[in-house]
Symmetry: C2
Subunit: 154 residues, 2 copies
């Protein structure tokens, strides 16, 4: 007997969450993200997420707050509805990734400061120089690459 699509999707959500857990995003936050990327309909309330993902209301609340804060999820309230609805904000993924690239490139300021402290002693600065050159190159190329990213189609 074959496994249903929804079952396989929830396994996928778990893999998705596991990946981002390695990057420091709480497991439940990752599950919310994965779930909101594939659920139908696209909007969910906190209570629904709590039930669907089998997580406490408190955890859902904390993680939604975090995700809304970094922009990956948007919150919508409607008059006449007590429950807010949450949905994925696909647009925000660009900034999310950009932050990661910037984090890598930002090491250059660090190595650069180090080089300054060692100016006047090229011998001693040699190890740092090797690293500084790499990050120097990255801090040029990564932002440049990012600018060439394709625009999202309407």
């Amino acid at each position: 007997m074959s496994v249903g699509r929804e079952t396989r999707l929830s396994a996928w959500i778990e893999r998705f969450a596991a990946h981002f857990a390695e990057e420091g995003i709480p497991l439940i936050g990752g599950r919310i993200l994965g779930y909101l990327l594939v659920c139908q309909p696209v909007e969910r309330t906190a209570a629904e997420l709590s039930q669907e993902l089998e997580a406490s209301s408190g955890s859902i609340s904390t993680n939604l707050k975090y995700l809304v804060n970094v922009g990956l999820v948007t919150k919508r309230t409607r008059r006449g509805r007590q429950a807010a609805e949450y949905r994925i904000n696909e647009k925000a993924w660009t900034e999310f990734i950009q932050r990661k690239l910037n984090a890598i490139a930002s090491v250059q300021t660090l190595t650069d400061d180090g080089m300054r402290l060692l100016s006047g002693d090229p011998e001693r600065a040699q190890r740092l120089k090797t690293v500084d050159r790499l990050y120097g190159w990255l801090s040029e190329e990564l932002p440049a690459l990012w600018e060439r990213r394709p625009a999202a189609p309407k």
Copy 2:
């Protein structure tokens, strides 16, 4: 009265360690890395690192093992010397950074699997598609960019 170069260097090492602590490298590991990048002479024993960085022998041992394992530090033993000497391996920084870039690009396999699960329902796949397109582009461009990296001068 001005601050000595060594004092400023140890402040720099601390900043350096703090940066990598955010990326998940233990504080003491980061200190070792920073210290080995700028110390004179370039090689140090575990005992020297322990004293210089005011960390326990156990922590130094654990972190050196880790750093040697990922290749950022190399261990050298010499006949007639009981103490092994550790030094920075500048070369390994390229692989270190490459792993980071790959980690970003690797999300593409995840989104791709998700797209497969949603094939046959383009409506529902739309959110994921946006994200998949971005990572798809990255998984093309990042490795390509990396290939263009300048070779380290002799």
